[in-house]
């Protein structure tokens, strides 16, 4: 039996991936596919790297030693994910140094949620629980990505994210079972994070018009992911006595969630570098890349 050949022509390749076929770094990839893949995977890596900054700010202020250690471990996990994902980008032809240059110069993107401030310990809980929950829905859909090296590392990443969600839920539970002030911190954080969370999976473009679906880089559409998030997590939020700040939010009899239209203009503006914390976080990253350059130089010497 001859191994399934990856078709050499673009149309054949498209059909191959649409039937669930996967490709390796050594296969000949259509230029368009490679370009889309690099853009998508690079943004994912950037998001892991930038995603640690909102939480890092709380390592020194964590309420207990245990929380400090857990948060530090989580930050290590996320930076590790960034390293793995940048490796995938490198094999696709874009060196890591160039990815970092583009990131700190604002030429490439990272997820909307990492452009916002973390004001209180309540934010840390909401990020670790709900932002990670939203992210794991996207990431689980990448386990079936047509680009196999990316799909393979996603196994490890999803596995680690599952700890993060539990850690976040534990933080939230500790606070909602604490003092009224603690409960209020969670509610206030949820109120601020809900709009970015609803924007997280992107505008409800039909999946057939989404090039990332066409090439089977993603295995689900944006709205499917958001519905999955709402179905999985809104009941969990409600059962804690928290209020989701959307009066229109409800689950229809057919199981579809209705909600207030998210502010897509805000999403567009934030991910193109105009979020409340974009400049500060990029400046931080830039400073550290420069400051730690001697480590990289020493390693390759």
């Amino acid at each position: 039996m001859a191994a399934a050949e990856v078709p050499q022509d673009e149309q054949g390749f498209l059909e191959y991936v649409q039937e669930g076929g996967q490709v390796e770094a050594t296969d000949r990839l259509p230029d368009e596919y490679r370009a889309k893949l690099v853009k998508f995977v690079e943004m994912h890596a950037n998001s892991e790297l930038m995603g640690v900054l909102p939480e890092r700010e709380w390592i020194l202020r964590a309420p207990t030693l245990q929380r400090k250690l857990a948060l530090t471990a989580k930050v290590q996990d996320e930076v590790g994910h960034a390293q793995l994902i940048y490796r995938v980008v490198e094999d696709l032809g874009k060196p890591r140094a160039q990815c970092l240059d583009d990131l700190v110069a604002g030429r490439s993107k990272f997820h909307n949620v990492f452009h916002y401030p973390t004001r209180t310990w309540g934010d840390v809980g909401v990020i670790a629980w709900l932002v990670d929950a939203a992210a794991i829905i996207s990431q689980k859909a990448l386990l079936k990505c047509s680009y196999a090296p990316y799909a393979r590392i996603m196994k490890k990443i999803c596995w680690e994210e599952s700890f993060h969600i539990l850690h976040g839920r534990d933080v939230i539970l500790a606070m909602v079972t604490g003092t009224p002030e603690q409960f209020e911190l969670v509610q206030e954080a949820l109120d601020r994070w809900w709009p970015p969370l609803m924007q997280f999976h992107g505008n409800p473009i039909p999946r057939d018009e989404d090039p990332m679906w066409t090439w089977r880089i993603k295995s689900q559409g944006n709205e499917e992911a958001r519905q999955q998030f709402l179905e999985g997590y809104v009941p969990q939020i409600w059962e804690l006595g928290l209020t989701v700040p959307d009066p229109k939010l409800r689950r229809r009899d057919d199981g579809v969630w209705e909600y207030t239209e998210p502010d897509w203009e805000e999403l567009r503006s934030v991910v193109t570098g105009h979020g409340p914390m974009t400049d500060e976080r990029l400046a931080f990253r830039r400073r550290f890349i420069e400051q730690e350059s001697w480590v990289r130089e020493a390693l390759v010497a």
Binding site: M1, T26, Q76, R87, E90, D91, I153, L299
Partner: protein, 92 residues
């Protein structure tokens, strides 16, 4: 230098490709692989292989019909049916 990482989850289980890393030498490759793939005890063993050392075999010529080596090389359904019918028809 690129190293491919293979990991085994339990004693006796096969090594599966897990990912790759960029490390200047074997010592750093080991240190980073331990961090990436072993810090929660999720692997009992790792193999680190320089990518250049891997010999890739991907072309499977099938000029000769080698089906007799495989189960799908034997289609017994029709013959089995005939044999059963003959047996049912009584002694020959």
């Amino acid at each position: 230098m690129i190293w491919e990482v293979f990991r085994s989850e339990r004693k006796g289980q096969p090594f599966e490709h897990a990912g790759s890393l960029d490390a200047p030498d074997a010592g750093f490759a080991e240190a980073w692989a331990r961090e990436q793939y072993g810090r929660r005890g999720e692997s009992v063993a790792l193999w680190l292989v320089p990518r250049d050392a891997i010999r890739d075999v991907e072309d499977w010529a099938d000029e000769f019909d080698l089906k007799y080596r495989r189960v799908d090389g034997y289609s017994i359904k029709a013959r089995l049916k005939e044999a059963r019918e003959r047996a049912a028809a009584g002694p020959r």
